[in-house]
């Protein structure tokens, strides 16, 4: 079994599915086949990624499942993929959310189903490939290729202002990532290597590190997004179709955090140390400010979008603490946010499909008509708030513990954000679910059907599972995180 190129298979199976869909002619009868092919492909990919997890060796801190081929004859660019403890759960998060997204689009996507499914499967390939790349150029190619399907998903199947949102999304993130391309070429010129693995260390003088760090920062800060580079996110989230929002919040934002850990911390430790006060400041502003903004929203999706920015602020705090609690907390927070915010967007999608509005004031008293919905929504809402026993708690707790070693001001900022998150989430929940049903249009609203249950219940289980057994997730990433920390400390000790 070990001889099988399991990782490549996981990466390229979705493309194969897309190819099959490409050959199906779209008409009344075949639409269901198209959806089924997409769904089963993505489920197959999920199972493959679980197989990778099963075979994953927690006591091996370096890359596993490696595959390496010469790619360019004149430069040391390789097709080099592999997985370590940091990328493992990012890959699984991507493969876990994609089938749910396809299922969530089953009824709500009515036009151009074929193109939609192809875009989603292409997106899945690109996401997995990005997290599994060990060659920086390969990473960059996947990192930018994400823009293509996402641009189309927002632009074709999005809401009213979809064109504005799609252009803003594309150009904003492109602007960030092209600077990374220059940094990558500079790294190659200085070291003659493109391998993320060999470049982990401290190979550049501090002066160069600072420029490189800024170039990487431009792309990751836009992607994650950090305040004040977050303005594309609410637009993109609000206009994207439900499944698009789920992937956007669930996986694409994590690309930024993943990049910070791999590139900024791993390759440029001195510059990371130099800039960590900047990151802390921006993150605290993000956590507090965007929480307050979220409180003022009347559009449910926009509220969750702003809450994403706040939660990602906690992630960047955790990453740039560079201690084991902080980094592990940031990783768990990313996984948890991927599941929780994805689930929240799906919950919004459920009522949006029924009522075609996302206005908070339109709803109220849904608990009377939709008890199951109210229950699962509550689990995700509490996960987002960070109630003990849910996944959100582990991440937030670890980040706060780690922050105490850094500075108590950061702790105060982060804790304020967590309190505020409870305020806006509970307030949202109260306005939508509780109260008396005053709107007559809501009286006929139906509770979750079977399809929606199949989508939401695994997510609810995941939220609680991560909250109760965090060690399963922390264990594989312990060794790579330790090596990043020791590298960081030895670089900054001199």
């Amino acid at each position: 079994m070990t001889e099988m190129p399991l990782l490549s298979l996981t990466i390229f199976l979705p493309l194969l599915g897309a190819l099959v869909i490409l050959l199906i002619k779209e008409d009344e009868n075949s639409v269901n086949n198209i959806k089924k092919v997409a769904l089963w492909t993505s489920i197959g990919v999920f199972l493959l990624s679980l197989l990778i997890w099963l075979q994953f060796d927690n006591n091996n801190g370096s890359y596993q499942f490696e595959e390496k081929f010469r790619w360019f004859n004149d430069f040391n660019f390789y097709f080099h993929i592999g997985i370590d403890g940091i990328s493992l759960f990012m890959v699984i998060l991507s493969t876990f959310l994609t089938p749910l997204c396809i299922l969530a689009s089953w009824e709500s996507i009515k036009k151009r189903v074929k193109e939609y499914m192809i875009a989603f499967l292409f997106l899945e390939t690109v996401m997995i490939g990005m997290f599994a790349s060990v060659d920086i150029l390969l990473f960059y190619i996947f990192f930018e290729a994400v823009l293509i399907p996402m641009y189309l998903i927002i632009g074709i199947w999005g809401g009213e202002r979809r064109i504005y949102a799609s252009f803003k999304f594309f150009l904003y993130t492109l602007l960030g990532s092209v600077l990374m391309l220059i940094a990558i070429v500079v790294i190659y010129r200085l070291t003659d290597s493109m391998s993320i693995e060999t470049l982990q260390g401290n190979y550049f003088t501090k002066n160069i590190q600072i420029y490189l760090w800024l170039a990487f920062f431009a792309s990751f800060a836009v992607k994650i997004p950090m305040w004040p580079f977050h303005t594309w996110l609410p637009d993109a989230h609000v206009e994207a179709p439900t499944a698009g929002s789920v992937i956007l919040a669930g996986v694409l934002l994590k690309m930024g955090g993943y990049g910070f850990i791999r590139f900024s911390l791993g390759m440029l430790p001195e510059a990371s140390n130099y800039f960590s006060p900047l990151i802390m400041t921006l993150s605290i502003v993000a956590v507090v400010y965007t929480s307050l903004v979220a409180l003022a929203q009347t559009d449910i999706k926009k509220l969750i979008a702003y809450s994403s920015v706040a939660h990602m602020g906690l992630v960047t705090i955790g990453i740039f603490l560079v201690n084991s609690q902080g980094l592990e907390g940031a990783m768990i927070q990313m996984i948890s946010h991927g599941v929780v915010s994805g689930a929240l967007f799906l919950c919004v999608g459920v009522i949006y499909d029924r009522m075609h509005t996302r206005d908070i004031n339109f709803y109220g008293g849904l608990v009377n008509r939709m008890p199951i919905y109210a229950t699962v929504f509550m689990i995700f809402m509490l996960g987002s708030v960070g109630l003990p026993g849910t996944s959100g708690f582990i991440g937030e707790f670890l980040v706060i513990v780690g922050a105490f070693q850094y500075s108590s001001i950061v702790v105060i900022g982060a804790a304020t954000g967590i309190v505020l998150s409870a305020v806006y989430m509970l307030y949202l929940y109260k306005r939508i679910i509780f109260g008396v049903m005053t709107n007559e249009k809501l009286t006929e609203i139906l509770d979750l059907d079977n399809r929606e249950k199949i989508i939401l219940i695994p997510l609810a289980i995941a939220v609680i599972f991560i909250g109760i057994f965090p060690n399963i997730f922390i264990e594989p990433m312990r060794l790579p995180i330790e090596s990043i920390i020791s590298n960081y400390e030895s670089a900054n000790a001199k």
Partner: protein
């Protein structure tokens, strides 16, 4: 003696000259269908010459030796030029017939113009260089205004002619200054006379700048680009395709050789000029294209932008720069042929599509064509995994290796701006709902269909095996 004569006949330029005259005769004396026959003849001639160039029938004869250079670099660009000319004839044949400008003079003139370009690429002497430039330009002035009864076509021809003549004058004046200060017209003579000089005399700098201005006009680098959008828009689309695809290659090769060969030592002087031309072209190409409504004008500005990127490779003054420029021009050629083969076959209610807005709804009626066009646009914008990304990557590698960080950063920023208008075309096809019920018609000859499919495969799957192209240019040097 006889053997030698046979050899001379198979020198690509000589062969092409003979074939061009033959094409003229063939068209003149065929009673009917002369356009068809002449076009087929011209296409075959070009392909034949490509083969000759490929198998290296070299020009190492006493007469030619000091006039022509034959290196890997010139060979690569010559193959691209003849192939590009042949393919652009194939893809535009239907358009010519359909819009009733099927005159046999067109393929003949294009053959002569291609001949001029081949000599341009190889020329090692200022006089030959000038004659070659004039040969290709004069032919192109005529074909730009070939649609006599159309005001736009005539206007574009006249504009092209006046500005082209002006630039030729400037070029010639530059040549005369260079000759006056060095006493030589051959590249080697100029190089030798400059060996012992450390600082260029002011007159020679003037000469150099005048020549660069003239050449910048030919490659349509900003601020000498004014003719490009008007000529692209006014000329019949099939001629525009030729303009966009072929002459750029020759002019770029020439500007590289002129800068690096006789004046290679004084790169400090001319890189300043090229540096500015490059930045101005990238940004003007990107920004001015945003406001365009006409597809051909947009492609004109897009080509101006692309020229800016190639010039980055020139500023880097290195072997890597030469390789990167060769790769970039190859990719430019591929993308432009692909996009024009689509534009030349796409009709909406009996008129060829020229407005961006009239693309709306294309993705519904012709999903394959619109997907292809979308891929080409993303590739032109330099978004991976498509081929255009690798062109930009190589140019930036060349820039960074020569420590041109500012140029590289400005280059990527311009590429973000230019992404906007490429995306606008995708938006037109996919996001906008068409409000009218006009249907699209895609009529394409089977030859162009094959070409388009091959190019689309190349554009999409280049990433799988990039070494194919990279090995081809690995040995390139001047």
């Amino acid at each position: 003696m006889l053997n030698n004569l046979m050899h001379i006949l198979f020198v690509p330029e000589v062969t092409l000259a003979i074939l061009a005259v033959a094409c003229l005769m063939y068209g003149l004396f065929s009673k009917n269908n002369s356009f068809n026959k002449a076009t087929n003849f011209a296409t075959l001639s070009l392909l034949f010459v490509t083969v000759l160039i490929f198998f290296d029938f070299s020009t190492k004869f006493a007469l030619f030796d000091s006039f022509f250079s034959n290196t890997q670099f010139t060979k690569f660009f010559k193959i691209l030029t003849t192939l590009g000319a042949a393919i652009s004839l194939i893809i535009s044949k239907n358009y010519f017939i359909d819009s009733k400008i099927n005159k046999f003079e067109i393929p003949t003139l294009l053959l002569f113009s291609t001949l001029g370009m081949l000599i341009m690429i190889s020329s090692k002497n200022l006089m030959i260089m000038y004659l070659a430039i004039e040969l290709q330009s004069l032919s192109l002035y005529v074909v730009a205004s070939i649609k006599r009864n159309s005001i736009e076509s005539a206007e574009s021809g006249v504009k092209y002619f006046i500005l082209g003549a002006l630039s030729s004058g400037i070029l010639l004046y530059g040549f005369s200054l260079v000759y006056g200060f060095t006493g030589h017209t051959s590249f080697e003579g100029i190089t030798n006379s400059l060996v012992e000089i450390d600082n260029l005399p002011i007159g020679l700098i003037f000469g150099l700048v005048f020549v660069l201005v003239g050449l910048a006009f030919k490659v349509s680098a900003v601020p000498f680009h004014m003719w490009t959008p008007d000529v692209y828009e006014g000329a019949p689309t099939s001629i525009t395709a030729f303009f966009a695809i072929v002459p750029k290659l020759a002019a770029i090769a020439l500007i590289f050789r002129f800068c690096l060969e006789p004046f290679g030592k004084f790169y400090f002087e001319w890189t300043q000029v090229i540096f500015f031309l490059s930045i101005a072209s990238m940004f003007l190409g990107a920004i001015a294209a945003i406001a365009q409504k006409n597809l051909k004008r947009l492609l004109a500005y897009s080509s101006i932008g692309h020229v800016g990127y190639v010039l980055i490779a020139l500023v880097s003054v290195s072997d890597q720069g030469l390789k990167s420029a060769s790769i970039y021009m190859f990719i430019y050629l591929v993308m432009n042929i692909a996009v024009f083969s689509i534009i030349l076959s796409l009709k909406k209610s009996d008129a060829y599509v020229e407005k961006i807005s009239s693309l709306s709804g294309l993705s519904k009626s012709n999903p394959v064509i619109s997907a292809s066009l979308a891929i080409i646009m993303l590739s032109m914008a330099g978004i991976p995994p498509f081929i255009g990304f690798f062109g930009k990557l190589y140019v930036f590698i060349a820039a960074i290796e020569s420590q041109l960080y500012i140029l590289a950063v400005l280059g990527v920023l311009a590429s973000v701006i230019s992404a906007f208008y490429y995306l606008r075309i995708i938006k037109g096809m996919y996001f906008d709902e068409s409000d009218d019920n006009q249907t699209f018609e895609f009529t394409i000859s089977s030859e162009s269909k094959v070409i388009l499919s091959v190019l689309m495969i190349l554009i999409t799957f280049f990433i799988l095996y990039p070494s194919l192209l990279i090995d081809a240019v690995s040995s390139i040097s001047l």
